[in-house]
């Protein structure tokens, strides 16, 4: 069956199977920044923005995206660039398998609550696991990124 959706601001008509998950549809259509880390929505690596809210695309049926907006990191390149710079400053990037999903989630947080406290940042990102960094450097980098936006806006 066909679904209509907007991916990164561009309208698309995609052919999907009824039982297919959005993650697999996106990868099949070359949105390769969206990746799989688990079998049951517990790692956060597959995060996309669904009408600007972060959701795990591995457990979202593709048909549910019909007439909605999906954002992958390909759609927020400039913000990802900024966040990457902050990560670089704190040595917060390691394998990076979690990073594109981190960029999307942090970007969404910035839209919702740019003055998030330490605890709010942690709560918001708790579903985005990272096995490499131990989180502390990421946390500092994310705070820096959120702060930057504050200054410019």
């Amino acid at each position: 069956m066909k679904i209509n959706l907007k991916i990164n601001g561009i309208s698309k008509i995609l052919e999907v199977e009824p039982g297919e998950f959005l993650l697999d549809v996106l990868r099949r259509n070359n949105y390769l920044s969206v990746r799989r880390g688990c079998d049951n929505s517990s790692c956060g690596v597959c995060t996309v923005l669904f009408d600007n809210k972060p959701v795990p695309s591995c457990s979202l049926l593709a048909v549910k995206a019909n007439n909605h907006e999906i954002t992958t990191v390909e759609g927020i390149q400039e913000e990802a660039n900024k966040l990457a710079k902050c990560f670089g400053e704190y040595g917060a990037d390691q394998c990076g398998f979690c990073n594109p999903s981190m960029a999307l989630t942090v970007y969404a947080l910035k839209q919702e609550n740019k003055n998030a406290t330490d605890e709010e940042i942690k709560e918001y990102l708790v579903g985005n696991l990272c096995r490499c960094t131990g989180y502390v450097s990421q946390h500092k980098a994310i705070k820096k990124y959120l702060g930057e936006k504050n200054e410019s806006s």
Partner: protein, 769 residues
Amino acid sequence: MKVVNKKVGSVDGVGIMKGRKAFTDDYADKDSLIIKVKRSPHAFARIKNIDDSKAKALDGIEMVLTYKDFKRISFTRAGQGYPEPSPHDKFVLDKYVRYIGDEVCAVVGSTEEICLKALSLIEVDYEVLEPVLDFEKAIDNKTIIHDEPEAKEMFDIGFKPKKNIAASYHMHIGDVEKTLSECEYTIKETFYTQAQSHVMLEPHAVNTHIDYQERLVIYSSTQTPFHIRRIIAQALEIPMSKIRVIKPRVGGGFGGKQAIHGEMLAAYVTYKTGKPAKLVYTRKEVFESSYSRHPMKFEMALGADKFGKLKVIDCKVLSDTGAYGEHALTVFMVAGSKVLPLYNKVDSVRFSGDVVYTNHTPAGAFRGYGAIQGNFALESAVDILCHKMDMDPIKFRNLNMMKEGETSPIFAIMGEGTEGTPMNMDTCKLQECVEDGKALIDWDNKYPYKDMGDKIKTVGMAIAMQGSGIPLIDMGSATIKLNDDGFYNLMVGATEIGQGSDTVLSQIAAEELNTTIDKVIIYSSDTDLTPFDVGAYASSTTFVSGNAVYKAAKALKTEMLNEAARIFKVDIKQVEFDGEIFKVKNSDKKMTLRDFSNEITYSEEQKQLQVTSSYVGPKSPPPFMAGFIEIDIDKETAEIDIIDYVSVVDCGTTINPMLAKGQVDGAIVQGLGMAMFEDVKLAKNGKLISSDMLNYKIPTRLDINKLTTKFVDSYEKSGPFGAKSVGEIGIDTPPAALANAIENALGVRMTSLPITPEKILQKLKENEK
């Protein structure tokens, strides 16, 4: 120094964050055949018959592979240098299945859906056998797990398959019993460490195709591309010259990707069919069917004289390697060789025991590699002894631990699977590590504990060491070439797996060539294009591969000076090079690097300047550290809040202080996970209960408050720009430091991992009785 020991962002961080094609599965052909593996529901069984007729009849199924398709060539998946110190006890597919999750057969088809359907249509007739599920009952069990005649050791590792022993080892110095009998204070305790899963976020992935030269190309998320090439060539009898292994970006390894996993099946399918194929493990397969950390049992005895001098250490160890013997001997030995030298002034020391087969998910390499297990046992035992002697644990360590300039006879006796190499500790800043850590955690105000009403605040500590590569075995190499326009390519076999080696190695080259890191373009791990390297394991990359890069850069610089001297028509001694400009001493003759490179590329006596250098370490200088934990324990529930973890590390020069900190931070948190909750749980029949990330909890953002990581000044002469390695050491101390903190606060000794509130409450209750 201009580039080394400086805050330099990683060379690939921006591209990865922006989601560029990077990881193995991003490179899979869109029309790849999908491979799915049917996995054993029995802990031990013989396959009597596989009826795959219905599966084969399905539209879209290309083939079903069973043991009948493969010649019986035994190998080890371990991913080590050749000949491996691990038994060859594995076949691509076998008629025996030895753990729940072991490979039964594989289906190959056009879509995942078809493959799953085919799997469900395959009927397997098993003769179910009695499994060995208690590693303490494995030796001489009536069940023999590896009875096949092809299973063999490559050299003497104490392999006794008829007794379910994959490897065994014994060493002693002095007379342990005698020394123990002479000691004023002695203690005895038994410790258990659990299996731990790596949970790297990228599951194991491989894809394969045949290129236009009719060669087999394998993209693999591996830590050891060169070993993968060799093992596949040997096991599938494909000429090695026909195989190219490319390692793209790897999404974390921690040792879990040192071994070969789906590569064998994918390579076979493509080699047979000529079609592209791929195999990506599900998370369940990663948990159940790759491997985890070796669980171990330690029976420890220590003795000290009346002044608190440690006189004797005795460890009897039993290790569970699961169904296959990957890294059986070497992990076992590291539990001694990279732990015992911490206390080098003892009169007697003994380390002995066996590594046994069971019908569990296999065990294999995992960051720490035995040292974390051994560290938990020894550093816990040391604190028990301190309590018995009523001696401050820091004072005890200052009195007894390894100091700079000293050595331990253990280095010469114990290597990894072989004899060791003697070495002196040219750098060992353990004293500074302990002192600084003590100040940073505010030990004097918090030790042994502080009553805070509902909670008790306490601190605990442990010291650790690791190695820097395997001396005389691990080889790394690097090629550097100068391009026109004056920039360099650096080609290394070293394997970037997220630890930052591409960045660190580029920094080393840039420093020696006096240039900036953007002028060094690195490419790592392609068996056709980059020179050999054993891969990313044993904390070897910065030290071993880094030394190779340093040597290559130095040699290239000499070649460049030679060429410049020729162009200037002067003696090489007259030429100076500052990274950008060649100058003749006491003259105004000069030339930019750019002009120089263009000239030798296009104008006169044109040539490609390129150098390859290799490095094998004559020794493996250990990094050292002291770890201090501060926790608050709830008096009623025994819930633990980690307030801070202080790590003070001596890893020589930090080539990249930020990335080095990242290595320590990340390892500390993995170590805390092992200390506090990570646990591979099994049902009675041997089935893994913790086979997903809901049942196997790794630390989240909410578990970690503060990490205080510091490096002491240290310069290791044998390392590149003074560096030692830093990839593993961070993981070693948390289990012992936590257990020690708990005893400081509550007076109970936790002897098995993970240390959960339930276990603490239970111990407290037992103590009341």
